[in-house]
Symmetry: C3
């Protein structure tokens, strides 16, 4: 049977830290994988982007100095996502977290 | 006029094979491009992720030993997607296939 | 409070030009960032894909000769997206622009 899941996308940047100076992506993985046992998550790196801190492009600049955009994508049952959401918002500003419903394929 | 399409995302990993040991991504392309004449599809590679087989990160490990996450994205008319879906499910577990509706821009 | 945003994804290729021969991605950034003051956008590069111009794969071919798929993703308030959409359609064919609604996380 087909069932509804919730997809969450979190937008951040390479090099982003948590308030206590840990690597943000690792903290998000820790939260999702170790604490909440989410089944899966993927992080994709953009080749260009812009946000509050200006425009970046992978090809224009010396790669080491550029913090490219990252997006972490996770989907799971809506109840599980609802439980994690407040924790995600402690790590990532609310305006960088979007979610929507999707259908899982029928078994 | 704006029209409704269905977006499908399939989650798998580099190195994944079909049951008869072919490269999964090539088989998916064969199915979508050659057999079903889908207009377009894109595959994106993650830089990190976790799933049933543990955590991977592009930067932490010798690249050759890591199977990074892949996502294949395709969108088309809902009827065309409905016709392809059973075939996709033969290649990718149902829990790794999600879909939702979107609007095509007006001509 | 949670609020509704509209996500837009534009599909194009590396090397794509505008009708007056400018780099398409730079023109899209100019439009979104400089003219319309959209808060953020990200561009992701695929590792494989197919469309009207055949199949491409990053690993199979001499990288310099291949135009890999790009997707530009932007989200903002539906009214802002509605205002930009006609301009996006001057740069990218309507059939390569899809959008859907999502929820911003609650503050």
């Amino acid at each position: 049977m087909s069932s509804t899941v919730k997809i969450v996308r979190l937008y951040f940047k390479e090099g982003d830290k948590t308030q206590d100076h840990h690597n943000l992506m690792k903290e998000l993985f820790h939260l999702l994988h170790d604490e909440h046992k989410v089944r899966g998550a993927s992080v994709f790196r953009g080749v260009a982007g812009f946000g509050a801190h200006g425009v970046v492009q992978a090809d224009d600049l010396l790669r080491l100095n550029v913090h490219l955009p990252l997006v972490l994508e996770v989907f799971d049952e809506p109840e599980i996502i609802a439980r994690i959401m407040p924790r995600l918002r402690e790590l990532v500003p609310a305006k960088h977290i979007i979610s929507w419903e999707a259908q899982l394929a029928e078994e």
